[in-house]
Symmetry: C2
Subunit: 160 residues, 2 copies
Amino acid sequence: MDHETYMKEALAEAKKAGEIGEVPIGAVIVKDGEVIGRGYNLRETGNDPTAHAEMIAIREAAAKTGSWRLNDCTLYVTLEPCPMCAGAIIQARIDTVVYGTEDPKAGCAGTLMNILQDGRFNHQTEMITGVMKEECSTILTSFFKELRRRKKEQKMQEKS
Amino acid sequence: MDHETYMKEALAEAKKAGEIGEVPIGAVIVKDGEVIGRGYNLRETGNDPTAHAEMIAIREAAAKTGSWRLNDCTLYVTLEPCPMCAGAIIQARIDTVVYGTEDPKAGCAGTLMNILQDGRFNHQTEMITGVMKEECSTILTSFFKELRRRKKEQKMQEKS
């Protein structure tokens, strides 16, 4: 499978989040070469703490296939999953997770812990990391850099 | 706060799940003495791997308050949260989690790990365990006992 092709799709989802002021993280779920679920971070817009990219993509894929079991599916996500999303991936029995860049603050697929491959749970996934790492990382650092710039600008305007 | 009063509400939610053949787990979220979110396990009915009791209650409470931040809220759940739900609780910044009985297979609030109180994440919760433990445990064991009985009966009928 050409991982870059699908990671580009996940990046396109991430871009949609960034355009509406959400932290730009995107995900797609692929089965037999077809994208069956897409998602981007909608936490602020939806006032929903569970509205991460992976969660939205998982729910869409499950609705499309008519089953909560997403075996034979691969999830592509730009950022390493947090505990909630890693847990949802296990719940959905997803075969393989491909992510772009690590999350040093909350990553639970190898960084802080590895929920995806913990033998005590009833499912483990294959894992491929670092696909289009630079692009997946840059979209986030640029977003936060711009956010800081705007906040600084706002403070300057308030003072003047 | 009278924890039993609210755990009874969570147990009433769990019962609703059991009545439609779902594993009987229930949750409520309480703010200033008022129940602002309710949920029971709907994984099979909704074909949704994320439709755990806690997730549904969290999404309802966030929709009701108009914010993804559920500070000053207490979540009551009959069974110890799994990694997904424990992660969602952290994401939602919930103050306190009260649960009835441990989950030896997937519990991530003290049994296999403790996602709720891991200092590496950006939020930790208070935790109270064992409230109405026997009732919360019995509703599950009775459900699985009945499930096994029915499966056995079905096999006997198929053979005859």
